[in-house]
Homo-oligomer: 345 residues x 2
């Protein structure tokens, strides 16, 4: 465990600024005295793009590489054409830094409201592939803007890419008490990619005889997320299905205000990046209304990734305790929630 953290901070757009400030506050407060925290902020996102036309220049991509980890707020603004920042900045980071494990835990805290009747026990983690699938930017459009336009999107999947993320998911399942891993895909329609995923899933599974496995089509999986979420322990799935399922998972647990994520490069060759699952929420930006909890829980994932398990657990316990007191209490500002958690931690 390193006794110093050299952190890159990318607040980004909208509420990203506000929530990242609280994440840093809690991070500073939880770290032991002897751990040196250095942070460097990168001005990337909508304002930068409007000013310079740049999304992520090579020099900054290079500079980011030198950090131990990246804390990101949110990317995206209605003033920028849809896709420009998502592809040119957020996905560029995930792909350039080979964040092939996009880790998204879902837990229903005992005190948190859920839209589900009957309050099921929810505690699962989605291992979303982060560097392939329909997210590669492959595709194009022909006769663009005419009535004869054809637009394609190519989902690219490699045995190399699938095997490494599937293996990571088995490792995580093996380390959890229930040891259950569910593959989600749509192999009755997407037969090329789907069959490859399933074959590799079955093959790697032979090395983990203690892990119980299951397969679900993505459409059926959404049903179980709502009617029987307690059946899940670890889920492994492709980039697009993982995107969809983790928003749904957030909806059935405490809402998108609590959903944390880590874009992890397990080899350590590149810095991993931690961010809330939510977006930049321009409608409430600058009003102190954003819930910084998802970012603070992402800081916990960051600490765990860097070997600070005690501190990560402390943040998670503090959040659980704070959530238990939210019920019926007056709503607090972004800052107040951050302060409360920073003090308590």
């Amino acid at each position: 465990m390193s006794r110093s953290i050299n952190l890159a901070v990318v607040p980004g757009d909208g509420i990203g600024q506000e929530v990242v400030a609280q994440g840093l506050k809690v991070l500073r407060s939880v770290l032991p005295q002897d751990v040196k925290l250095e942070t460097k902020e990168y001005d990337l996102g909508a304002r930068r793009w409007h000013r310079t036309g740049e999304t992520l220049p090579d020099a900054e991509l290079e500079a980011l590489k030198a950090h131990d980890a990246i804390l990101l707020g949110a990317i995206g603004d209605p003033s920028v054409p849809s896709g420009v920042l998502e592809r040119g900045l957020l996905l560029k980071l995930r792909f350039a830094f080979d964040h092939y494990v996009n880790l998204r835990p879902s837990k229903l805290f005992p005190s948190t409201a859920t839209p589900l009747a009957g309050r099921p026990d929810i505690d699962f983690v989605v291992v979303r592939e982060g560097t392939e699938g329909p997210y590669t930017g492959n595709g194009g459009s022909l006769r663009t803007g005419t009535p004869a336009e054809v637009a394609t999107e190519v989902s690219v999947n490699t045995a190399y890419g699938v095997e490494r993320v599937v293996r990571d998911a088995y490792e995580r399942a093996q380390a959890r008490p229930r040891k259950k891993l569910t593959l989600v895909h749509k192999n009755n329609v997407l037969v090329y990619a789907g069959h490859m995923w399933k074959k590799i899933f079955d093959k790697v599974g032979q090395e983990y005889p203690e892990v119980t496995t299951d397969y679900l089509h993505v459409d059926a999986a959404t049903i179980f997320f709502v009617t029987q979420p307690e059946r899940f322990d670890v889920i492994v799935t492709d980039n697009l299905f993982g995107d969809i399922l983790t928003d749904l998972a957030a909806a059935v647990t405490g809402g998108i205000g609590l959903a944390a994520s880590g874009n992890i490069n397990p080899t350590g060759e590149f810095p991993s990046m931690f961010e809330p699952v939510h977006g930049s929420a321009p409608d409430i930006a600058g009003q102190g209304k954003a819930d910084p909890t998802a970012t603070i829980l992402s800081v916990a994932l960051l600490l765990r990734h860097l070997g600070f398990e005690t501190e990560a657990a402390r943040i998670e316990e503090t959040v659980a305790a704070d959530l238990a007191e939210r019920d019926g209490a007056a709503p607090r500002t972004t800052d107040e929630i951050g302060d409360a958690l920073a003090v308590r931690v």
Copy 2:
């Protein structure tokens, strides 16, 4: 309105057999005396494939064309490799008969249990594109089965295909009291297809000034399905997103046992096909446990499509009345539910 119906019946696999029998029972019972119903059953599905290796021979495809409509039960069995029957039979029918409007209404009946706390008002319809997108079977795999395998899936989208389904959705929105249409896609990542969908959606919208429009990314849409389903009226979306969202819609309303669908060819060039959204459920097949209601509601969609609006509405009211009595009552067999609805209708 034709005073005769020449119906093709494809019971298919698993519970398909059982539920289609009940659908026909109700259809016979609801039709006025003077309407001549002719039915022809087609033996297609897993048993046929095991026996002859055929999924859908040309001669049968040709014969099916002559019918006014098709009633389908369910396709798929674990004894057949995943994808063989789905692609070779079900999707082949949807594509060959140009079923570009895959219509899936979602309504929470007052008496029906929902996994959602607070019982929101749900009454929306998903217009799922049925002949393009990731369902075209485009793609392939290279170095199959080796550690160097690459598998692709190509989503193919045409202005021709998108415009016609978007227009159909505007027409449906225009005809409903709330007149609201939501486009669901993922145009911040799938920029080629997503931007084309959005452009066409906006362009066609100019012809429907009374229709309020909205756009949601598919991940965000799943959140609203759970937290605020009452915000939706008509939704138009691509083939894969529509597949996922309609299972989720079924989950938040009465469950997959009530979800009906129509694969519609609006031009009338080919017969439209009506089927429950659920699958063949081999685990409960042959036990009289399947709920035939989704099939019976699909028969209502079939009747409406053929111009029998009164009879369609009668089935829907009968189902609503029957559902109101299910609460707390002893569970009934497939046959008993079918009988009850047939008598009452």
